[in-house]
Symmetry: C2
Subunit: 418 residues, 2 copies
């Protein structure tokens, strides 16, 4: 399968891009390669696609469901009762809605943690993008429950082979306050043996930090380090309550972080992502939207703006996380964390690609595409999206969009009434 | 001139809306009125349009122009040299670009402060929306310069009659650190006599607060109150450094505020808008985008999200500025501040109206339109916009859009090279 993209603007110059089996083989003024499919960029701007480092995809179904409540009431009276009723079909349509929204916003890769692993995996394959998918692993310190979760994860790891064209199996231990030491040790061993990424909430709230210090005498990072689970395979999400010592440990172990600025504000977690501590140590990080219940969208362009502006505000330095750096974090750095290779649009690389339509007021006059994308645009500037060499959205058209909207709406309403 | 809007969803029910000379005359299941123009809503959702309480419209021309610099360098080496070269034609196209972007995002009213007053006024009339327009009044404590600014403002007030169908003349004294007491006293008197709104930056930065305390021995609010300029005609923008005493004075004088959360983060002003102090005293406020140099867009939907989430984060209370309240602030409260009457879509009222297309992933499943608009949507969900009973955007089409993009781009590039 090969693809020729004619007349796109790359670093300010009009070029053709020829992609074979997902890898860029040629970038030239006029490619004469024979292609299975040719698309015409019409001077749209070609950029590497965006990566969503942390979400719970199928929570699109809960978007706007009772979210002006205190956190505890909302979780206990709204979200958890609904989640208890979720079916495989619900999650499939919720995850498909999430993929649809992400493709529209130029996202082709996401890192997920949710129930009904296989439903999300099927949705990702059907939509033609890439998912790093984990099942939520929660045992509430019950060894029996932990054992069941372990069995379930072994089963999912085995069946994940079937979805490997688009899906990478990962572990999703929820947090230090919902998973016991024994389960985490098993995850550590299995992850090491099979080289599996671990996706975990980490130092999100002050409550989490306090619980860890009360239970284990150390911070969440201190505890996780004591059982040897931290490594370059470990991806910690949120990190707002990390301190200097935590960051030293994370750096020493090669851990990556995911910054979810929108969710952190909405849930009022009390501290900003520690931009300075992370920057001083050059700890790899990328951006996540978190799930739709705490964001309430999956637009990484919007997330880039929140992250960049909060970095400036929280440090008092208006040069922090400049637009070009912010864009690189959402693309190149994220791709490194997820082991996707060099994500720049260059011959020999295999990034996914989005084409941006510059004929829009918010991209005019157009002095600096990175500034315009990070500070001014939202996901709707994306016109065409290419994932692994295949076109998943062309001129804003995604096959099956209407069916997804209808079914997601149907299962969400049924879920509430069930 | 009358307009019939068929089949829109209003408060969950499908209705027709009949508008005569800008005022809603009938809302019914099936209006049989004869209309000069009929548009078909196709079950889009009708909502009152949004109001942008503080901007510098023509700064769209500087969008993305060198904005990863320290504030001082950026102003002194980038923005001010360009502003010194601005012409009437530049501002006209910059303001038209701003109107275009705002209409696209459902904004039909904005409060402006910029150079070349008449250029912005012409742009607003040409685009068919509403502008509260002030000339930047800066005298740098030079009485001669102050006298020139006064003459200029008298002249503009007189010619503003010509634009009154769409434009309201206001005063734009820049700030307490750029305008002398004598000028402010003249503005106070003229504003009182002619009932003119005053649009001023107020307590935006710590530097401003310190300068005022050093120069006048009191905060900016304390100084302004000492010269009697504070009244219900006074609209103070930003307000991040207001303290309890300031807020007591503002409440006593009937002053309104404009919260510009995006700009405050980008410029790292050091403090959040004082949501609690303002809420406790019920001080009227609305939202502004600020100019494109410090935002960098004019999307009030995005601004609502920033404001609502920062209110939660900064107070630690996840129920602060809920979605419905936030939407009311951007519409109903803003309309009261600008004396536009009751902005709700009800018979006898004269609000502007936007039609939102709910067939989009980020508005699905659609449990709560206010939550979806504030937390999930961006301006691109707006499909059709009606201002003063006339359709200014229909099915996302705005007459003359391409010409505006071409000309704004042209003058911006020429300005840099001039």
């Amino acid at each position: 399968m090969n693809l020729l993209i004619k007349n796109v603007v790359l670093d300010g110059q009009t070029k053709d891009i020829f992609i074979e089996d997902g890898t860029i083989r040629e970038i030239a003024d006029n490619c004469s390669q024979r292609a299975d499919k040719t698309i015409y960029g019409n001077n749209k701007i070609a950029l590497p696609s965006l990566i969503n480092g942390h979400t719970h995809a199928a929570m699109t179904l809960f978007r706007g469901y009772g979210d002006n409540l205190p956190l505890k009431t909302w979780l206990e009276e709204k979200i958890w009762p609904l989640e208890a009723k979720l079916t495989e079909e619900d999650v499939y349509w919720g995850a498909k809605l999430a993929c649809l929204e992400m493709i529209r916003n130029g996202v082709t890769v996401f890192n997920d943690m949710y129930w009904f692993w296989e439903a999300t995996a099927r949705a990702v394959c059907d939509m033609g993008i890439r998912g790093f998918i984990s099942a939520v692993f929660i045992d509430m310190f019950d060894l029996k429950k932990g054992g069941e979760e372990i069995e379930n994860n072994i089963r999912l790891f085995e069946i994940s082979e079937k979805y490997k064209s688009h899906v990478t199996f990962t572990f999703g231990p929820h947090s230090v306050y919902t998973v016991c030491k024994e389960s985490l040790e098993w995850i550590r061993n299995f992850s090491e043996k099979n080289d599996i990424l671990i996706h975990m909430h980490l130092s999100e709230t002050g409550e989490e930090d306090t619980l860890s210090r009360n239970k284990y005498g150390v911070s969440p990072v201190g505890f996780l380090d004591s059982i040897g689970i931290l490594s370059p395979r470990f991806i910690g999400c949120h990190g707002c309550w990390l301190d200097e010592k935590d960051c030293d440990i994370l750096k020493a172990r090669g851990v990556s972080l995911v910054n979810n600025p929108v969710s952190n504000l909405k849930l009022a977690v009390g501290r900003f992502f520690p931009y300075l501590l992370v920057q001083e140590r050059d700890i790899p990080f990328c951006f996540g939207t978190d799930g739709c219940a705490s964001n309430n969208n999956l637009d990484i362009m919007e997330t880039m703006k929140f992250a960049s502006l909060l970095a400036k505000y929280s440090t008092g330095d208006t040069t922090m996380l400049g637009a070009k750096d912010t864009f690189a974090i959402a693309t190149k750095s994220a791709a490194e964390i997820f082991r996707l290779g060099d994500w720049e649009i260059k011959t020999g690389n295999s990034p996914d690609i989005m084409l941006v339509d510059p004929q829009r007021p918010e991209l005019t006059p157009g002095f600096d595409i990175y500034s315009d994308i990070v500070y001014s645009a939202n996901g709707y500037v994306v016109d065409t999206v290419i994932c692994m060499g295949r076109v998943v959205m062309e001129n804003r058209h995604i096959p099956g969009e209407e069916e997804i909207l209808v079914n997601a709406k149907r299962v969400a309403k049924t879920l509430v009434e069930r």
